[in-house]
């Protein structure tokens, strides 16, 4: 073993770097598909009762070794003016729930009154998630009309958009009355976070390919002709979109232990691979293959947003440098991955560094996949404040973790220009201008840097020997952030070490970080606080899943992209 240390949280937990993260072997989608294949899950469409207007329901069931789970999909005929990706929308093209088991006719009937209205409905402990999706108007009509005319849709158009529908919210863990995570967290298939949501989305993508075919068939029949069958290769290239706003950003701040465990798993994986002394021929070959395939994702990644356009140009430059480096590098030498990573840290932009950090994990499933088991979190133990902690020790922690915040001049308007709040309109999370809008009294506790600095200054006249319990009795206003400091003291990757309320904060950095853990690619910001992504692009459909294609589908095959 060489003494490769884990990367310092002070380096890793900066917004610009978190906003440059890429999917890896430890992404939740890939963890799911590997398990489904390994355990030979069986999939069936058990109902598809949808009329010529696209209205009705369908059921898709996944049978695992111990349990079955069913996606119940409700399809609607949505007037175009109602189509919105925002939380405040009230109708959708399709709505879904992942049901624990196989639903009865009564379940389907009961849920048909609740799922289509989403937040206005109620579900029960047998429902594991509630979600909805809207059509990509551009691609949907193209695919339906081409198939109905007997032709295959344009692969260029599909590549341009990436998906037929995009989900606009996937609620799990007790929302709207659904099962709490605690009810299912001890099932092996759900130990890793977000597996319910990832399974729901994976089955949703299957439903959408069936629905688009169904609509094409109906249209062709009406015209007295027969529709073409969507080519399986083309179907596989179609992912499912996701449109995500600000709701996801507070998640990382509100679940510090969970966030730590995700980040720590990836950092442990990076450390373990950098510590590999000798790479085998097969490992080197696999790495080079995945690198070439991954390069295609970068090449076909489009965004119209100025920030992402700039980041993409930098990433493309980095990929060029990596290719050049690898032409000369001897990956057969000692510690090749540490050398590659170290070179990347010194030579590439943050996008390129994180791209390499994820990519070197690819040949080492046996070494790194086990870290996924540590990605969940039970918050019970970390929630309690250690009241016997001495103020002196608290001060040391604060200076170490929040040194940057203590040195920030929080009296300048720019340092706290924004405030996070929740609107009474369907409880949509929003970010406002503190000095321009009447929102400050509704501010959510999502500025740990500022709050830690306030705590630090409030402690100035307290003796090192005093106990935290006595301080908190006098200062309940610091209880939230003090708890946080103690958590981060034990879980160093739990905290974003940057200003989350400055005039320059980009919430999309937080969204990107979380979505990269889901396994998303091709991040396409619509603004500084809104992003669209593609999930499961190039993944085998559930019925095509095998242990051969369950892992590396994320990287498009070289032949296909050459078409």
């Amino acid at each position: 073993m060489t003494d490769v240390a884990k990367r310092d949280p002070k380096l890793v937990m900066r917004l610009a770097r978190l906003g440059s993260m890429h999917q890896s072997r430890l992404s939740f989608m890939r963890i799911l598909t590997r398990r489904l294949a390994r355990e030979n899950w069986r999939f069936e469409q058990s109902a598809f009762e949808i009329d010529e207007n696209g209205v009705g329901h369908a059921v898709y069931t996944a049978h695992g070794p111990n349990s079955s789970y069913s996606l119940i999909a409700y399809a609607h005929d949505l007037p175009p003016e109602k189509r919105s990706d925002r939380v405040i929308a009230e109708a959708w093209d399709a709505t879904f729930t992942l049901f624990d088991g196989v639903p009865s006719a009564d379940d389907i009937e009961r849920l048909s009154l609740n799922i289509p209205v989403q937040e206005a409905g109620r579900v029960t402990g047998t429902e594991l998630s509630v979600s909805r999706a809207n059509r990509s108007v551009r691609l949907w009509e193209h695919v339906v009309s081409e198939l109905a005319e007997g032709r295959q849709p344009s692969t260029a158009k599909i590549e341009d958009v990436g998906y037929l529908m995009r989900t606009t919210a996937v609620y799990g863990s007790g929302k709207l009355g659904a099962a709490d995570r605690e009810m299912i967290a001890d099932r092996p298939e759900f130990r890793v976070p977000f597996q319910v949501e990832m399974l729901s989305v994976y089955l949703t993508r299957w439903f959408i390919t069936d629905l688009v075919q169904h609509m094409a068939d109906k249209r062709a029949t009406k015209n007295g002709s027969q529709a073409a069958r969507l080519d399986p290769g083309i179907a596989r290239s179609i992912g499912i979109g996701n449109s995500t706003g600000l709701g996801m950003a507070p998640f990382l701040l509100n679940h510090p232990v969970l966030f730590n465990n995700w980040m720590a798993a990836r950092e442990q994986a990076i450390q373990a691979v950098r510590a590999v002394q000798k790479a085998t021929e097969a490992e080197i070959a696999l790495f080079r293959d995945m690198l070439a395939r991954n390069t295609q994702i970068v090449e076909t990644w489009h965004s119209e947003h100025p920030i992402q356009i700039e980041k993409l140009a930098a990433l493309r430059g980095d990929v060029g440098k990596v290719t050049e480096y690898l032409t000369g590098a001897d990956l057969g030498a000692d510690y090749p991955w540490d050398a590659l990573y170290t070179w990347a840290e010194n030579s590439l932009t943050l996008e390129g560094q994180e791209w390499i950090a994820s990519l070197i994990l690819e040949p080492y499933g046996e070494l790194v996949d086990g870290f996924a088991e540590g990605m969940a979190a039970d918050n019970t133990a970390t929630f309690r404040i250690a009241g016997a902690m001495k103020i002196g020790d608290l001060r040391v922690l604060l200076k170490d973790i929040y040194g940057w915040a203590i040195e920030t001049d929080w009296s300048t308007p720019a340092s706290k220009a924004r405030a996070w709040y929740v609107s009474e309109e369907k409880l949509e999370p929003r970010l406002g201008e503190r000095f321009e809008e009447p929102i400050e009294e509704y501010e959510q506790p999502l500025a740990p840097g500022r709050d830690a600095a306030l705590l630090y200054h409030s402690l100035a006249h307290w003796s090192d020997e005093a106990q935290v319990a006595n301080f908190l009795l006098r200062h309940p206003e610091h209880r939230h952030v003090l708890r946080r400091v103690q958590i981060v003291g034990r879980a160093p990757y739990a905290e974003i070490r940057d200003n989350t309320i400055s005039d320059r904060v980009l919430p999309i950095d937080m969204l990107r970080c979380k979505l990269s853990f889901f396994g998303a690619t091709k991040f396409d910001p619509r603004s500084d606080r809104w992003v669209r992504i593609c999930m499961y692009e190039n993944a085998p459909l559930p019925y095509e899943l095998t242990s051969e294609n369950a892992d590396f589908w994320i990287f498009p095959e070289l032949e296909r992209a050459a078409v």
Binding site: G125, G177, S243, R384, G387, R479
Partner: protein, 216 residues
């Protein structure tokens, strides 16, 4: 109506914040209400009682004057069970050293019980709470109840004694769902609503930062 525990926790946190508690104390109120609900107690209803009783009053008025006093008491002779309970959890080590922590004039004493669950987990031994004809003990995971329903829902305890280590004679397991009456849910909702910014056209357009059209 049957609610998930996460729903109860989220609602309780917002409601407590809406009633003027600090975010940190609101988090304690939320965890406590969740804990009580999981054991079938009317956590949500009692939290609503407390928030109505202490609506927007300064926390310091209903906090213990001192944590080293022989008997903990609040200057108003009406101690908040949330603040007393959070302090008890913060003083878990002291509770073990002293064996007993006695409090006087605590409102809705049952609301302080979840905090001794936290203390029990920290200490690794069961902790008990006793007031007029009620005794509850917990190791943090299960609870032992010896009390009449009336005593459990007492509005005020003249004397409340926490002790560790304690005996557990019976064991009640937590559940993963809870029933909250519509009335109690609405009472909490009224407090929670105060934490939401009013809907304005400006906020709707700027705050979420979405594009103008998703019809593409």
């Amino acid at each position: 109506m049957s609610h998930s525990l996460n729903e109860i926790e989220a609602m309780s946190k917002r409601a407590a914040r809406g009633a003027g508690l600090s975010w940190g104390l609101a988090e304690e109120a939320a965890k406590g209400t969740r804990w009580l609900s999981a054991f079938g107690f009317s956590g949500a209803g009692m939290l609503a009682d407390l928030l109505e009783m202490n609506d927007r009053i300064p926390s310091i008025d209903v906090s213990p004057v001192s944590l080293s006093a022989e008997i903990w008491h609040a200057p108003t002779r009406r101690m908040s069970p949330l603040i007393a309970g959070a302090s008890l959890s913060d003083c878990a080590v002291r509770l073990m050293e002293r064996g007993l922590i006695t409090m006087e004039n605590v409102s809705l004493p049952l609301l302080s019980v979840p905090f001794m669950g936290g203390a029990a987990l920290r200490l690794g031994v069961p902790v008990a709470a006793e007031w007029e004809s009620a005794r509850l003990a917990t190791d943090g995971r299960q609870v032992c109840v010896q009390a009449s329903p009336d005593a459990l829902e007492a509005r005020h305890a003249e004397k409340l004694v926490f002790s560790a280590p304690a005996e557990m004679t019976g064991r009640l397991e937590p559940m993963l769902r809870a029933d909250v009456s519509e009335q109690n849910w609405n009472r909490l909702s009224a407090f929670a609503h105060r934490t939401f910014a009013p809907a304005t056209e400006e906020s709707r357009l700027r705050g979420a930062g979405a594009g103008l059209s998703d019809n593409d």
